[in-house]
Subunit: 360 residues, 4 copies
């Protein structure tokens, strides 16, 4: 049996760090061997972490000693759940030192040579790693970002509609509390309440979506040519970001044509074979009151996007709802899928292809 | 001291019926003397009602015996919290029998000769009562509807913007559970969840809004000329409907001009003197994360609409959030305000104007 | 490969019925072949059911036609999620007709010849089936009940303490909304609220617990000799009943002795090998703020009881908290475990022992 | 008209500090003139505060500049919402400097010469102020504590039962999130969950209750002679602490005798005339499912305790539920009531008795 790739998790005690650890337990290609934190450095992980996910931290990591943020790491592959401020400097340093850094942080998402990946949608953007290495004199290292948690369901739902000519998009989100990390949203702010503002997310919806939907041409990404307007709100839901989307499509497809476009969408063919990929990237639900966060967030083990309620919009033409699990598909799970894509596309030197062939 | 007007409440044991009773306690002009219900007919109100509001039912009504739906009533003024099916026939019958019927039901809202009132916005639509009486051979009776609870904050926020030329409106609601009555939404459906569909409300948003914003001309309402697209969702909030609105305004006002338009809006001058009218119809909140249902629904004793987050929308031009208390301003409280308007405009024969002059 | 046993589910469209179907999907011994309902009879299950669990109903059952309540059934094994009133007559009829009926209903729990089973605790009570068959002239049929959902964590936590001489127990529950079925608790009653009363459950806590902790002697159950006082409340939690227990123990064990008693508890040795049995029946959590419903209800796939906070009680001696998943361990999952016990103890004639030996 | 007494609020930007300010608006005897905070010192209150109560901070205080914690104060009366650590030293300093300090902090509650007051229950404990002044060489100053928010409903419910001989009490609380201040409980910890532990509160329940129920004899408090066992849990409720109480009463009164004892309870006769006193200190609710936090917390403007569900307890004799609003009756409101008692009993030198006589 081939050897799994060693993995370090940065920001290991935070909410997203915990999700990385949870999802990497029993991963067929990767194994967590190093944990990195700031205030918890030097402590046993099991003692340092306030585990906010269900159950308890996996036995395989509780006895690891948390390393400080500036520690040299052995693992070739690094998953980063750092806050933006910490990510700005440390992530490029680690990439420069030869590590593959798959980050959930927003710090570098819009950098021109950093791939911002949703593998089904834009796996070919991975070629930016070559540009990046050339630009920055990196050898084996790389820095790859995953989508913001709220942008995720928007881009996944729009990707199959590009064929119809997307011109204008208006989106209103209803976001789960886990998107704000831990302790994050105070219960006194959100019980029996909605907060009609989520700092920073509206900008990300309006810009990062265009990069992800864009086209890799000659070493750079041509941004997708459309206008997006976003309103972001927070609701008393644990996990699962729901987005209500109106869209103006140039070719005026029928409702059935759009549902077919979603139903047949597979995205990049290399993705379906990755261990964290869902059976299909998205599903269209025909019930009139779906998708719902609690009932649909775990579709495809939290990696599948659910869409529903497609109907005419008197203003923009079409409207519908989409939902993704924000801390799995919109954070840790996406980063792991990105790493799997990097592995099969040859960007992780130590990856042994036999591992992939041993897939069930 | 002048005598108060006797009032009957139809559907008195339901959630909106209870709110009518609660708001009418100690009303300076009206007093509840008759309660009407279907399954509770013949019972003492205190025994029949499952009081779902805070506290307990007022002492003044607990000993009233609930009358059957087809009972002849003594009260000249009738508030109806009937479900649509029961309202269709019974409300016109009572108006025909000489009663002023102020209804929260949706059954007759779009009938051409029924005023659909938000007094600050369209008090002059009350003239439809004359048309109605002529059309239907009614003498002292009348049928007047209040706004649907979700349409309420939309229309109140848009009314002061008519001067700028409203062309297109896109709105996504986040509605409280009390909007569905009692028992209404099952807790298993809404805890830790959002339901992205509220039956019937999207249509109402797209049509009833245009009637309320319309103009009374020669015995009928010219519908307001704009296009509205609505998406209605349900969130785990007790009271308070939040709407996220994008709007296209022809004259391209500045942000400040719009805020001034809201800040100075008084609406029809007869309304400010009514006992249930808030100090002003709406307030603009400058905090970046307001309005919020729990914190702002009780503004003006639940009768004031709160607006916030006005900013540019890359698609339609402007976007903002608005909030009204759905069972007060969006239901019982609005109907009571309608009745007060009818009183001071002379449509309730038994109303003694001295009552109004005795206002504090 | 041996043939699985055909299974019918009564009350298949209700909340517990759905849980039966969900848990029986891919069961190694049983397969659902018949669904029975009242108002849904004659319909395709996929059309009749309002699926309130996460995701969607399994593909394997959506095309089954729901049979009426009085239909003759083919399946030798019947799981009943009927409401009490429907269960009273129909369950004995089916047992009389030769079916093994494992019921979640409360109708027959306290009947002297009906085993009320928590297999780890009182597997030997299964012998009542022989008494039952003799009493009622049943041949291959039987009627077996599982624990009420709130009694479940109480009995599981107390069972290992019987060795210390349990004399008095005081318990206050905080119960999840799913315990009331669907639509069950209205959201207007429970959001931002606690309901300090759950009809019927206090009596069940005080009586059914003594039967389950009791002893099978000569064809009947000697009730356990202790006094239990219960207070039952409902809280805004989806799944997982938490009980706060104070207990008076005659032999005054140390805190460590009690924790050891729990930690080493295995219960009846035949149970650990059953497919639905958790790795161990209960776990003691050392964190000061556990067990918690959301974080611990899924322990052991919802079949393990979690205990924590053991400390001295100035009034009764000891106090602690216990938690079980109410619709899995406290309902459908327990009934399935009961059926598995019946299978391996020879009470289901058509069960082929090779099935059991093929266990992983 | 007599002059109102100037008041300072310590910890003015915290959740309880905000509640003090809200309740003191329009108080007939007191007016807020100074606000004190730590991190907000030097700022305009309207800018410094993150108002977590409904609506917005009162206009009368938004322009006050927050003073630092060690500032000399002009106001003779000081309400303290300081955290325990800050209260330890600063409160006695202010009392020593001549201020009447009414505190919600737990720091000095159990000090032998500090009155721990629930005026209806133990107004005569106010005489400890004389002891305190003698002990500590204080002249016009004094330090008076109010009840912990969870102990409040327990003591109020037990006080009228002292006549029956209270021997043992077992209590399980279901506490609201506002009891933990702001930001307090993280939403990720409490949505769809119960936390079966509230740090420190179990000890307070078991000790502070005995001081409040105790007797003032010759310059000190004889603790009440009973044993209390408490379990404290946190539930997803905004305001209102519910306690489930079992009690052993020596004289074995009938259920009716107990209800009569509660129904006729007035407590100290001086209290009913105080402006913040509710019409009566407690009410017994006959509905089987009350009291409920959301529906009963605002009884008596949040100052009345609601009791219900009295029934036999097989273990201790009697059991019932009680509820108080934790941030009004269990915190700021109680402290204000304490100050009012001090005023009419002559402990606030600058209080002009004409103010009290002008009461409506």
């Amino acid at each position: 049996m081939s050897k799994k790739i060693d993995v370090a998790v940065l920001g290991a005690t935070g909410a997203v760090g915990q999700r990385f650890i949870q999802l990497l337990e029993d991963h067929p290609w990767f194994q967590v061997t190093e944990l990195v934190g700031k205030s918890s450095a030097g402590k046993r992980y099991g003692d340092a972490v306030n585990w906010v996910l269900n159950g308890n931290p996996p036995e395989s990591v509780v006895d690891l000693t948390v390393k400080p943020l500036d520690a040299e790491l052995d693992a070739p592959l690094v998953f980063s759940a750092l806050p933006k401020e910490a990510a700005v400097d440390r992530e490029p340093q680690l990439a420069s030192a030869g590590h593959i850094v798959c980050t959930n942080a927003g710090a570098h998402r819009m950098a021109k040579d950093v791939p911002l990946l949703i593998p089904e949608v834009n796996a070919d953007h991975v070629q930016l790693v070559d540009v990046q290495r050339a630009n920055r004199d990196w050898t084996t290292g790389a820095l790859i970002a995953n989508s913001n948690c709220t942008v995720m369901p928007l881009v996944m739902a729009l990707a199959p509609l590009r064929q119809f000519g997307i011109r204008r998009v208006s989106v209103v989100s209803e976001q789960a509390i886990s998107g704000a990390g831990y302790p994050g949203v105070a219960s006194l702010d959100i019980l029996d309440n909605v907060i009609p503002y989520v700092g920073g997310d509206e900008d990300k919806m309006q810009t990062e979506s265009l990069k992800m939907l864009g086209t890799y041409v000659a070493g750079q990404i041509d941004l997708f040519d459309a206008v997006v307007s976003a309103t972001c709100t927070r609701v008393p839901v644990i996990d699962g970001h729901l987005v209500n989307i109106s869209v103006d499509l140039e070719s005026k497809p029928s409702i059935d044509e759009i549902i077919t476009a979603w139903g047949t969408y597979q995205g990049d063919s290399r993705v379906a074979l990755l261990p964290s990929a869902p059976e299909k990237p998205l599903q269209y639900l025909s019930q009139i009151d779906r998708p719902q966060p609690r009932r649909d967030r775990d579709a495809g083990k939290g990696m599948m996007t659910s869409i529903g309620r497609l109907r005419e919009c008197p203003v923009l033409g079409y409207k519908f709802a989409a939902l993704s699990h924000n801390t799995i598909r919109g954070a840790a799970g996406s980063s792991i899928l990105n790493a799997e894509l990097l592995a099969v596309t040859g960007y992780i030197p130590s990856f042994e292809p036999e591992l992939a062939q041993a897939l069930p």
